[in-house]
Symmetry: C2
Subunit: 238 residues, 2 copies
């Protein structure tokens, strides 16, 4: 009876943690979409809203950390249950970083004052953001459903994002070479493209956390990388 | 007697965690210095070594996380003791991110193939790195000694690093405008300057963790920022 009581209490704690992670994930996804939206439409009001909304994500991360730690201390879960809790903490840290990266893009909206914005660039950024957002969504679904194959699909899909980022950098470099007046604006877009790529890296981290939760060990394969393709003069790096 | 035994076991666990964090901190400090060294001397061998050494830091972070979680589960520490353990986990996460940022600079060494490297730029980067490295060192000492005033001094010192970063960005922008052949090289240095600034942000995070460990609550003041000073065309942002 005491055991059943403990098991029930633990399940409740875990369910609450999963709910908080899912709430945080929803906020992070929205921040990704809105920061790019603000950037493309040069909507400083929306940019400011993205910046302000970040503190909500930060608070959720602290809350998840606190509850996770209290759950471990109170319920003393072992093995697989412990990994569930550590998994929630890890995912929350990645989501908090995603929020920071979106906030950084939101801050740049006000600084991008150029009227020059080639359609090809905008389309590239949009495509990259769509991909990354769907990676974040898929990996959060995989986390909630304990779906290892789905998580591994995200893990492998990061390569495409890195390749688009490299091609965007090449293009931005061309515009900068063509006309020095493009430089300020292009630098901001480079940092934004890099931020979106990093959001993709965090989706990959979450996929690795799902692997750890299910398999009980760290993933050992090297993650695939698509951004090292001969763009030596200004490769985005990693 | 049983209580004493538990207290002793807990102290041993905590001591081991602190030792691991300090080992990790030493490695991270070395990575900061060596990545800049590699960059300035264009020493690709050293750059590669920085990249390779990052996995050691990553492993330590995982180890600290695992031990922290096991300690919480086994010893069920409460209040102040729990905060000690959570503090170690948080510091390890910041140190892991510092390692990533140094690794990113190490990767850029091979891409920077320009012979053009104005002394003023190099001095600026060196000055910024010195400041940031001493912040990391001071805050790790403050963490080990539970020295809140020392941690708060680091927390406030971040402003100067941000200001140097802004001034470096302005200078890099000038070089890019002057001659398009400088653009590729300058972009890499911008990303490096931004990385060093971010390392400073992680030192500030660690200062906040020390506050949390000692005061038992999150710091509520807004952290000081020195990088918003009217550099609208290519501000480094945050």
């Amino acid at each position: 009876m005491a055991f059943e009581h403990t098991a029930k209490a633990f399940d409740d704690d875990l369910q609450e943690l999963t709910r908080l992670v899912s709430e945080m994930g929803g906020l992070a996804e929205r921040q990704i979409v809105e920061s790019l939206d603000a950037l493309i439409r040069r909507d400083t009001t929306l940019g400011d809203r993205v910046v302000a909304a970040d503190s909500e994500i930060d608070q959720l991360q602290r809350m998840i950390e606190e509850r996770a730690v209290l759950t471990i201390a109170r319920r003393q879960p072992m093995a697989v249950d412990l990994r569930e809790i550590v998994g929630a903490m890890r995912v929350a840290i990645d989501l908090e970083r995603i929020g920071d990266l979106a906030k950084n893009m939101g801050k740049r909206v006000v600084a991008i004052d150029s009227d020059f914005r080639p359609l090809k660039l905008i389309r590239g950024l949009e495509h990259m953001t769509d991909l990354v957002r769907s990676q974040v969504k898929s990996v959060l679904d995989a986390y909630a459903a304990h779906d290892l194959p789905a998580a591994m699909a995200v893990w492998k899909g990061d390569e495409e994002v890195d390749a688009i980022c490299t091609s965007l950098f090449r293009e931005l470099l061309t515009y900068m070479m063509e006309d020095p007046r493009n430089i300020g604006f292009c630098i901001h877009l480079m940092f934004c493209a890099k931020n979106i790529e990093r959001i993709g890296d965090h989706a990959t981290n979450i996929a690795e956390t799902v692997f750890y939760m299910i398999e009980g060990q760290q993933i050992l394969d090297k993650r695939p990388k698509g951004d090292m393709t001969g763009f030596a003069s200004a490769a985005p790096g990693n």
